[in-house]
């Protein structure tokens, strides 16, 4: 089946006339993703690569009522407004590619989504791909199938580039992906690992889950908590980047969260907590493939 996006995804692109959105649009269309409409205020009535553009989400939905997914590709200052508009109009899956969204705005978006029982992936997401079914956002570039092939591994990553590199390591070990998700590594993530774990656990296509985490934030620690609390029916293999920073003087790579979180957000501590919960953590990134072979 895969999760989040698939054959049934009917996509709206907010900010479709922007430079970057119009660059990735042909890649999505070529892959067979069903993009029905775009929105850019003031540009309603145009078409871009055959896709109609509307002034508002409501106008787009009036004509294309099947839309169930929005790819948000607007500038940072407009991200909150765009997400609110999509949520208010009943779209239940938002994938926010926009980078550098203020944390306060992310909080507002997350609150609204929670209230309406909708799901937000991002900000700073590379996109979502369910190989062979749907590609949402820039993930995989113009040649997704060179890395992403239909398979049994669910991939979640805080780093955009490493979503693809992690999926590539799987491919080198003859594993494909059910769905690969670029979660974005912002302070507040619309969806974190533990928000999507239940989906992967229920998904019949997914046999194991790979997590790419980083220093900072406690989202990886939450995975350990989750597994300890609810148990975990499918194997998880994790990698946590940034261990080298702990060998340096604090002053060089000291970061904001650490002030408050008392060191729990260090790679070392995250790895310890994950391993205590019974999750295998790769020491070096490419070992993910070998560990997967062992656990499956």
């Amino acid at each position: 089946m895969s999760i989040l996006v698939g054959k049934g995804s009917r996509i709206l692109i907010q900010g479709i006339t922007g430079r970057e959105a119009s660059m990735i649009l042909p890649d999505m269309l070529k892959y067979g993703s069903k993009v029905l409409a775009g929105v850019t205020p003031g540009k309603g009535g145009q078409t871009i690569q055959g896709i109609p553009v509307y002034d508002s989400v409501k106008e787009a939905l009036d004509i294309h009522s099947e839309i169930n997914t929005s790819l948000v590709y607007v500038p940072p200052f407009a991200a909150k407004q765009a997400c609110m508009e999509a949520l208010d109009n009943g779209i239940h899956l938002l994938n926010v590619v926009t980078e550098r969204v203020p944390v306060r705005d992310s909080w507002a978006i997350i609150k609204k989504a929670k209230e309406l029982n909708a799901r937000v992936i991002g900000p700073t997401s590379l996109g979502i791909i369910s190989p062979g079914k749907c590609k949402l956002g820039p993930i995989g570039g113009n040649d997704p199938s060179s890395v992403y092939q239909e398979g049994s591994i669910g991939v979640m990553s805080k780093s955009g580039g490493m979503t693809t590199e992690t999926s590539w390591v799987l491919r080198l070990n003859d594993f494909g992906q059910s769905t690969a998700v670029g979660l974005g590594g912002d302070v507040l993530m619309g969806s974190m690992f533990t928000d999507l774990l239940p989906l992967f656990n229920e998904d019949q296509q997914t046999k194991a889950i790979v997590i790419f985490g980083e220093l900072g934030g406690l989202q990886e620690n939450a995975v350990a908590e989750y597994v300890k609390h609810f148990g975990q029916p499918k194997p998880i293999v994790a990698f946590i980047a940034g261990k080298f920073s702990e060998h340096l003087p604090q002053a060089i790579f000291g970061h904001a969260g650490a002030i408050i979180q008392g060191g729990k957000d260090s790679p070392h501590e995250k790895i310890k907590e994950l391993e205590t919960a019974g999750i295998r953590v790769a020491k070096v990134h490419h070992e993910i493939g070998e560990i997967l072979k062992e656990v499956l």
């Binding site: 909080w107 590539w168 080198l172 993530m189 974190m192 934030g217 940034g242 080298f244 060089i252």
Partner: protein, 397 residues
């Protein structure tokens, strides 16, 4: 951006959070102290923590001693930071010291208030941190109930709640990531006073605060090296791609790493295979040839290198022929003897590898390159084997 204490307190004043009477002095300004009846707290303005233990704070009763302290602090370095400003405040008659902060809880995905009855010490040492998430919006009654549950004796809780409410407004309105008051003092005069401020602003929200300009600063407590300064210039006057991030470290393997997450991952891999990175860098966003050329020159100009690793994932946009050309041009000038390993893939990679091969042949370099069929982090192992042979041959260790 991390704010200096006095800048944070200016924000506090804007939101009517009480702070001590004070004057801030810059290095060039003549020191002219006010009369403070309760004595003087003289504080070096640096963004590093643990300022007290490293002599950055001087308490005194006499005005003359306070003046002397100001001069002394200007000549000091606190955790490597030169002191550019000194804040002189009136000492407070302390009844109790507390800790208070607001930040975002990354798992609950909302702001969180933290409070401790043991203010004035390091957060890491605090054993009694009480937390209250603000999932939807600030609610005075809820905060009062929370404060009541903490069991604070003989202090004015409704005044405290009012201060917290103002601090919360400040946190949101000013787009902060961290607002910390430590110590938050309850004075013998029964007043709540913010005696310190630690503020981290959200740079991504700067577009909402165009009027709020804080001068640029060194936030890492380290005087930049010549190479770090040279690298910084790379991105000036050229917005295409990023090539100027460079942090010098103590090792001997030159790192030319592409991409944020990939650079972290590859630094870890080098350490895992026994290598010591000479630097940290991240380049990306399809930089032009000149930027990679300049960055390579900066990285390879560090003395004592025994290897070079040019590594990144499979790029989406970055043109591999362009970046390899920049890299090769720098190699032509430097002609390193030590081993070089390149692992990269992406647009026009075959042309990129052709350029590399040609350069390696011409200069007789000890260079191996790999495309994506070699896992990124595995190429660290290849490099470290070559480095060991090189060191053996050269009698280095």
């Amino acid at each position: 951006m991390k704010l200096f204490e006095f800048e944070g307190k200016q924000l506090f004043q804007k939101y009517k959070i009480s702070i001590p009477m004070s004057t801030v002095f810059s290095k060039e300004v003549k020191i002219n102290l006010l009369e403070f009846k309760q004595g003087y707290a003289v504080k070096a303005q640096v963004t590093a923590g643990k300022r007290g233990v490293s002599g950055g704070v001087v308490l005194t009763h006499s005005k003359i001693e306070a003046e002397q302290a100001v001069h002394e602090l200007f000549s000091k370095k606190i955790h490597g930071f030169p002191v550019e400003h000194v804040l002189v405040e009136e000492k407070q008659n302390i009844e109790c010291m507390y800790y208070f902060s607001i930040t975002y809880d990354t798992v609950e995905k909302c702001p969180v208030l933290s409070f401790s009855k043991n203010g004035g010490i390091d957060i890491e040492k605090m054993v009694d941190l009480y937390r209250l998430d603000i999932p939807i919006e600030y609610n005075s009654k809820q905060v009062l109930d929370w404060l009541n549950s903490i069991g604070l004796q003989k202090v004015n809780l409704s005044d405290l709640e009012q201060l917290i409410c103002q601090a919360f407004t400040c946190f949101l309105e000013e787009d902060l990531r961290v607002l910390e008051i430590n110590p938050l003092v309850f004075s013998q005069e029964q007043k709540w006073i913010a005696c310190d401020s630690k503020i981290l602003t959200d740079d991504d929200a700067q577009f909402r605060h165009k009027e709020r300009i804080f001068p640029s600063r060194n936030e890492f407590g380290k005087i930049p090296t010549i190479r770090e300064l040279q690298a910084k210039e790379i991105d000036q006057d050229d917005y295409r791609g990023v090539g100027g991030k460079y942090t010098e470290l103590t090792g001997n393997i030159a790192m030319l790493t592409a991409g944020g997450g990939a650079s972290l991952t590859n630094m870890d891999a080098l350490l895992a295979y026994g290598g010591k990175p000479a630097n940290y860098t991240e380049y990306g966003g399809n930089p032009p040839q000149e930027k990679v050329y300049k960055l390579t020159k900066v990285i390879l100009s560090k003395p004592g290198l025994v290897g070079c690793w040019h590594v990144g994932g499979t790029a989406n946009n970055t043109q591999i022929d362009v970046t390899m050309k920049g890299f090769a041009l720098a190699l032509e000038e430097i002609k390193p003897e030590y081993p070089i390993v390149v692992r990269r893939d992406g647009p026009n990679s075959s042309e990129g590898f052709r350029i590399l091969e040609e350069t390696a042949k011409k200069l007789k370099l000890n260079l191996k390159w790999f495309d994506k069929n070699m896992p990124m982090t595995e190429s660290a192992e290849v490099l470290m084997k070559m480095v060991k042979e090189y060191q053996k041959k050269k009698g280095l260790n």
